[in-house]
């Protein structure tokens, strides 16, 4: 909708399954927990790294609805241990 006003948008999102359903015009996937898109609190270097990677992807989009993985993982060793903590955090909201 913003795009219809002539301003291109880039979604920088952590929820791939949701982005695949709502199909933003242009999106990059950051494999971090939701609510921590740009890294852990107070990690300015990580904030910059994610933002740089997202912007670097911009010229590569060809058409609407594309989602590009910019290769950002929460933990360097690829551990998914954060998923259990996130699930518990989300369920506390019930």
């Amino acid at each position: 909708m913003i795009e219809n006003s002539g301003i291109p948008t880039l979604v920088i999102g952590t929820a791939l399954d949701i982005m695949q359903k709502v199909r933003p015009p242009r999106a990059v996937f950051v494999d971090h927990p939701v609510g921590r898109t740009f890294g852990p609190p107070h990690d300015r270097q990580r904030n910059l790294t994610v933002l740089r990677k997202a912007l670097a992807e911009l010229p590569l989009f060809i058409g609407p609805g594309e989602i590009r993985d910019i290769g950002c993982q929460w933990q360097n060793d690829g551990s998914r241990a954060w998923e259990d903590e996130l699930r518990a955090e989300m369920l506390r909201d019930r």
Binding site: M1, T9, A15, G35, N47, M90
Partner: protein, 156 residues
């Protein structure tokens, strides 16, 4: 395998039915007109965030938005979104609203400039029609007034 959010969101909603995800009625597409290095960039956040001295968002169906100055010295950022995942981003809103990182990228020439204003609104609204007819056009107008070339939307 990426984390599957939808099943957990359905559990959070239960016994109410899960949230319906709605794609826009018109999938817009505006071509990138300028290289990133020549662009003025704004942040859009669905975290319902604001300056501490701005009017708070009301829970749930609040269709308003806040203009958050990009000046880093204007004051503390508050997150009003009701989601249970707020504990961590409230420690450091920059992890969902990277104003400082964007300012750094303007300094080093990665982008041309930062928009004088960023925009935040309430994510997870269920009034989809009003998002299209009221909220999104209002935000688009603000971005046009600020001569923004590129908007980065960070879902919350």
């Amino acid at each position: 395998m990426p984390f599957d959010y939808l099943p957990v969101m359905a559990e959070v909603s239960a016994p109410k039915p899960p949230r319906t995800l709605v794609a826009p009625s018109n999938l817009g597409w505006s071509a990138i007109k300028k290289p990133v290095g020549a662009s003025r960039v704004a942040l859009l956040s669905s975290a319902a965030l604001r300056l501490a001295n701005q009017q708070p968002f009301t829970p749930r169906e609040d269709l308003s938005y806040r203009l958050v100055p990009s000046d880093l010295d204007v004051g503390e950022i508050v997150i009003d979104h009701h989601s249970g995942i707020g504990r961590v981003p409230r420690q450091d809103p920059e992890i969902v609203f990277p104003r400082t990182a964007l300012a750094e990228l303007a300094k080093d020439g990665t982008i041309a400039s930062v928009s004088p204003i960023h925009v935040s609104f309430m994510g997870g609204l269920r009034c989809h029609k009003e998002i299209e007819t009221d909220l999104a056009p209002g935000i688009a107008k603000e971005l046009q007034n600020a001569a923004v070339d590129l908007a980065l939307l960070v879902p919350y």
